[in-house]
Symmetry: C2
Subunit: 607 residues, 2 copies
Amino acid sequence: MGINYFRRDPRDLKFVLAEHMDLEKILSYEPYKDFSMDDFAMIIDEALKVCREELGPAMQDGDREGVIYSEDGSVTVPASFHNCWKVMAENGWMAVSSKPEFGGQGLPATLGGLLGELFTGANMAFMTYPGLAVGNGRLIEHFGTDEDRDLFVEKMYTGVWGGTMCLTEPDAGSDVGWMRTKAVPDPDSSDPRIYKIEGTKRFITCGEHNLTENIIHLLLARIEGAPLGTKGVSLFIVPKIWVNPDGSLGGPNDVFCGGVEHKMGIHGSPTCTMNFGENGGCRGILLGEPHSGMAKMFQMMNEARMGCGVQALGLAASSYDTARQYAKERIQGPPFTNRKGDRVPIIQHEDVRRALMTLKGGTEAMRAMIGKLFYLIDMAQFDPDETTRKKAGGQVELFTPLVKAYCTDFGYLLTREAIHVLGGVGYCSEFPVEQYARDILISSIWEGTNYIQSLDLVGRKLGLEGGKMFQGWVQEVMTFTGTHKDDADFAPDFKLLFKASQATGDFAMRYMQYFQEQRFQLIPLTSKRFLECFAETLMAQLMLEQGIIAREKLENVKADSADGIFYRGKMQTAKFFCRNILPNVFARHMALQQEDTSAMDIPEQAF
Amino acid sequence: MGINYFRRDPRDLKFVLAEHMDLEKILSYEPYKDFSMDDFAMIIDEALKVCREELGPAMQDGDREGVIYSEDGSVTVPASFHNCWKVMAENGWMAVSSKPEFGGQGLPATLGGLLGELFTGANMAFMTYPGLAVGNGRLIEHFGTDEDRDLFVEKMYTGVWGGTMCLTEPDAGSDVGWMRTKAVPDPDSSDPRIYKIEGTKRFITCGEHNLTENIIHLLLARIEGAPLGTKGVSLFIVPKIWVNPDGSLGGPNDVFCGGVEHKMGIHGSPTCTMNFGENGGCRGILLGEPHSGMAKMFQMMNEARMGCGVQALGLAASSYDTARQYAKERIQGPPFTNRKGDRVPIIQHEDVRRALMTLKGGTEAMRAMIGKLFYLIDMAQFDPDETTRKKAGGQVELFTPLVKAYCTDFGYLLTREAIHVLGGVGYCSEFPVEQYARDILISSIWEGTNYIQSLDLVGRKLGLEGGKMFQGWVQEVMTFTGTHKDDADFAPDFKLLFKASQATGDFAMRYMQYFQEQRFQLIPLTSKRFLECFAETLMAQLMLEQGIIAREKLENVKADSADGIFYRGKMQTAKFFCRNILPNVFARHMALQQEDTSAMDIPEQAF
């Protein structure tokens, strides 16, 4: 086992869960009635223990050892991952928010999402294995027959089997509808749901490994004769080892791993080329109706997209933890404001402080946004009031692309701040910050690139309920800023937030105009920046909500108590976020106002 | 040998050299009178050939093989680096801008700087070896005695010996003045310039390797009894193998490499811990006067800082080259503006186009700024007019921190754009873009972190000639924008540039005010952002100069000729830069206006 660098202080996580979000409300929901905050606090502490003692120490191991591919198609995971798997499985950490009847822990999504930050922050590469197994199981739970559920779901929630999602092909990536993998009804089977599968999938995370005796692939393929494009795609359960109706394992299912990619990061997670039916012997079970695969896969994809945000938060927060610890211990020359003074811990250096504050503010704002998203998921599922459920569901849809794209892009920048705090040491591999930077980058690419997220936002989400979902949020921010515009501490911040919500609203108005005027180019040329404006404005809103809560709480604690320091820190962090990060909105908005099409006007040969 | 991915089109480099900068003027300078643009074009073509055939194919090799450290203190370089070294040395590519009398090529700095982009863009890790040897030799050329020059310089310019700069110690990094390495007059030597050296240096690039028979370390140490801080530091020539007065090699000089770092990138370049005099047998030759070492080292450091910008440009431009090639070849679904259309090369996708334009605009703006800097160096050295020389020299000082810090930070972001153009493939190691991202990051840290650059800018450079150097530049930009404010093509861009120069000027005014009011904190909390505003404004100025030149040239060529396409592309690129990148200035300026001190006001324990 390697060195553990995971050392998250759970105070902010608990603040989001129990002070910022409405915990009473969550605990009033039917499935969560038997829980209390004490339970949650205990669960968080136990999760931290697993992170520190099992996942964390395996993180650098995983990076250095990597996965090993053999010509016989097998993939060997880093040695220490076996124990991580065992501990996670035996203690029920894999499917914390899934239904207890299938082996899940039945925790609120809000808590499950925030726990995810801890696990991925401790060892992102490892967490791809349980993450896919559980996401996969959930799809079978939702769309499978009773038999499918009985055969697969519990085994995937409890770590008996692994799972994958097989979408990408060598010649079909972001344009997944062009996939070629085909399915034909199995002539040898009397069950009409059994198909023969043939095709090659690429970039399949955890496609093959030796952690579990079986791996259940969820695979998209086109049933022969189906229409082209995403509407002709069906979803299949394709076990690596066939599963007999009685649950026992049959023979190998002609699924072969043709190789693994060498990558910038997540070396402990295999990215596989998977060949299905090379020898004509691969069978799959149709999940749901034919040609309905894309929509179903999107449910898992949507969860995975939230998961990307969680990954980014996990690694960014861990890079902050490493940086702040280092900054407290590393002694160097005097700060700028006391240049003739003694050497001090670099946390007293102004630019280091700015970097740490960027890391603190950035991770706390991401955590707030992610906490809010998962809170809305609980609300959308279990709130007794239908209008509340519906509104929450709409906001989940609206905010998901922000969580996926903004957190993953911003998280990458935050890891750089952390590297810079450590200086030359940060570029070396002793400390894990350079690994965080390498690991985190994949989250901006997989599960739909961040550009695709921005198109999802502009093309689908802005128009939810005729635009009312988005407009309602803008209105909410404006009401919030109106209420607090003369705030004793945050007046300048509310002013910035008001302007930011105006700018973000203006983006959306302009998009409507561009659609009407058929100036379509302007939308994809700027949609990533619109997404960023929206996310930063939302995050500033949440940070100011937190700042105000912290101020209230501060009245009842001693200023120098642990809580007092936390709340004072929170107030400063809210200010920092609004005054240093939020202004980026205005640069993007100014760029939008130029309505620049030079990127399309330039002759293609000029590149 | 591995695959070559280096494929720079030299058109823009030639544009900077011969169309944007005043080539006639360079060629009128005494040392360059015998050259012509034809010579330069031939030299560029030959350099490209070396890059494609030697350095480029060794780049991925170097990354995968890395340097190998043995317990006996030896470091083995990647196998293919030996041939690179041989070719570079034999063909005089190492010291292109150094004096011919010592084995240099005597080329203008302008050309030398731009050639550096090619070499580092082909293989950054390899180029650390010749880069240090030559920079090191130049210091001995300038400050050594005739004997020193005879003994060392030519051998370092021509690849016979390697070199290093030994500053950092385990406990003295950015605060280099705290170093502990000590020197005492050698009691066994009659030469008062010979000292015994004892100490440990860390992060010594190319500190040990098997490319050359000898390595000449330039080392900073404190002569016993010298004052603390940078003013008590002296510079020593410390050969790995002692060099006898007749030039022959003596015995080993008690210099031992204690290990190499494992790093995020530049795996082919050893980052060494160097132990000097562990057995009491290390001798060094004092270079120049005692206690004058820091100032001398700064000459090399200054060159190295420019070199960092060149490194960043080289890798960013190479990542652009990889991305544009990939975007032309990779076929994927239809673009946003033709969603029912056929699959097309992704260069026709709007967001890919935006990314490529960011890469193109970013690299061309960096190349313009770097070309300008080296042009000013030629001018400062050789212009017959003293006022011109002085002004150029001042601008070199003013612009150097911009080139170092801005290009290295921005370059890292550009490599991410390139990775995103390639998508999942970009995260994998087959294509070199993820390596560019890993390699480039060190350039923001070494040779003085980018924060240190910003302090150099604010603390030293802004005040040059009582602030006139900076104000003169602001005035120059304002005059430029005044002349062109109604420009038929660029009016909006000049408007943005005018506002950007106002904002940058306002930063400087506020800093004066903060100094006067003793609100010192506000300076280091924002100085990196000021540097970025300054750099982006300067780059926009240069891009608009280029756009106007391109428009003029376009009148005399066919629009669809290679030159026509280049000039049209240049005009669009200038617009893109001003309308998409320059607006970032205003976000930073808005942040400055908040005068936010939350990062310092927050209790330290809140981190």
